[in-house]
């Protein structure tokens, strides 16, 4: 479903991603781990075209999104992304935050959008906040609204960029539960996370990234319990100690 072929990304001379080859099947859940600054966020931004790649090709459903003249707005509308800092629009209510893209980008009828928004908010458990503004929400609520906002575009794939790093443990659980529900429904997902237990539980595959390179990838049990490389082991130990 998503295929990255020899993807490299440079900012001027700084290499952020180097020769990345990844194949993600429909319904797969990939967990991306690695130290900060290793290129995880850039990896996600490349997949939905928020960042252009320097070399290599990315395919979504056999459509090369790195080709010239591709309608990136359409691709972005089909690939949902959820950020560490939620990035809700502070001048809009929860309802308006979620309605915006389906109405403006997908041109869906207003009534359908309203129904869908209510349904999604119910699903992530914050329907009672529908007419609140983002600064009236807790972090966990805000992140769940952000997830609903992405889901409103009915994406084929969801990308999560450290969705719980800015949250306290209680709120982290709320958000992880929401993501788990999505996993059960068969959503294809790429999740950047430091929640090792969570990654172990839901991921089909774990990719360990360091300095822009894929160091190791495989099933969670293999990566977490029997990593082949020393650097992977060191990283996992350092995270688990916290």
């Amino acid at each position: 479903m998503i295929r990255l072929e020899n993807v490299s990304k440079y900012y001027k001379n700084l290499c952020v991603l180097k020769d990345i080859n990844v194949n993600i099947e429909k319904g797969n859940i990939i967990s991306l781990i690695g130290p900060s600054g290793c290129g995880k966020s850039t990896f996600l931004k490349c997949i939905n075209g928020l960042t252009s790649v320097t070399e290599g090709k990315i395919y979504i459903d056999d459509l090369e999104i790195t080709a010239k003249g591709v309608d990136l707005n359409k691709i972005r509308s089909e690939v949902g992304i959820v950020f560490q800092q939620f990035n809700l629009f502070p001048h809009l209510t929860v309802r308006e935050n979620i309605n915006l893209a389906p109405v403006k980008v997908k041109k869906m009828p207003k009534n359908d959008v309203e129904m869908q928004t209510m349904y999604l908010l119910e699903k992530v458990g914050v329907l009672d906040k529908i007419d609140k503004y983002p600064d009236q929400l807790s972090g966990g609520q805000a992140q769940r609204v952000a997830i609903a906002r992405s889901l409103a575009m009915q994406p084929k794939i969801m990308l999560f960029d450290e969705p719980t790093s800015a949250l306290d443990p209680q709120m982290t659980l709320e958000v992880l539960d929401t993501i788990k529900d999505l996993a059960k429904e068969g959503m294809t997902m790429v999740v950047v996370t430091h929640e090792m237990g969570f990654a172990k539980e839901i991921a089909d595959k774990v990719i360990f990234l360091s300095r822009g390179k894929i160091i190791e990838e495989g099933e969670p049990s293999k990566i977490f319990d029997n990593p082949e490389k020393k650097i992977t082991e060191d990283f996992i130990n350092s995270v688990l100690k916290h």
Partner: protein, 224 residues
């Protein structure tokens, strides 16, 4: 000892009122045009490609690094050499709009720059195009931040509009000056003139205070 006598103002009132009307007319039209110019320039400079960015930057630098009086005379005296003859009031409106538009674009740009890049990413990530992102996400947050300095720009515009009297527009300043010179009543006419300008700009200040409160009332100042 000079005898202060404000009766002369009352006698000149019909002319002054005519001047006030012209000043208001020029100011209102120029304000709208200047705001539109400011919007276009700030969109070019923040969302455009490198060519649009450069054009916007060059425009702003030319305008704000040259005296407005030269710009005014350029439109009034130099354009006719190119075969473009315009009414003096039109010349005044064009010069005022171009001048204030450059400053407004700078004010708006500082607002746009204060909206975090994450907001931009979130909007583009949902599939909104550049124009939608600017119009629906970035601009509404930016404008809330820059309402006070924006008000100052419109106040400056009203005051700068007095320069159009240099190109034979019979605005408020023209009649004040004429009255003062005709009657040798500089003190009365300039005091009266200052008072009228203060009233006009005061109205703008009140309007902008209202707008500021209105945005607060609708909750949520932009939190970034």
């Amino acid at each position: 000892m000079y005898n202060i006598n404000f009766d002369v103002i009352a006698q000149a009132a019909p002319q002054l009122i005519q001047g006030i009307k012209t000043t208001i007319f020029i100011s209102v039209i120029s304000s709208v045009c200047a705001f539109i110019i400011g919007l276009v320039i700030v969109f070019m400079r923040t969302m455009g490609g490198s060519l649009l960015k450069a054009i916007g930057a060059i425009y702003v630098e030319i305008i704000r690094n040259t005296p407005m009086l030269i710009q005014l005379y350029f439109v009034y005296k130099a354009l006719p050499d190119l075969g473009l003859f315009l009414h003096p009031i039109a010349c005044g409106i064009i010069a005022l709009s171009l001048y204030t538009g450059a400053y407004i674009s700078e004010v708006l740009r500082s607002g746009v720059n204060s909206v975090t890049s994450q907001q931009y990413e979130a909007a583009r990530g949902l599939g909104l195009n550049k124009w939608q992102t600017f119009r629906l996400i970035i601009f509404p947050q930016a404008i809330r931040i820059v309402i006070p300095p924006l008000g100052s720009q419109f106040i400056n515009l009203v005051k700068n509009s007095s320069l159009v009297s240099f190109i034979a527009v019979t605005d408020l300043f023209y009649f004040i000056y004429k009255g003062a010179v005709d009657d040798f009543r500089f003190f009365e006419f300039f005091i009266a003139g200052a008072f009228v300008y203060m009233t006009l700009t005061g109205i703008i200040a009140v309007i902008f205070n209202r707008i500021e409160k209105m945005f607060k009332l609708h909750g949520r100042e932009a939190r970034v």
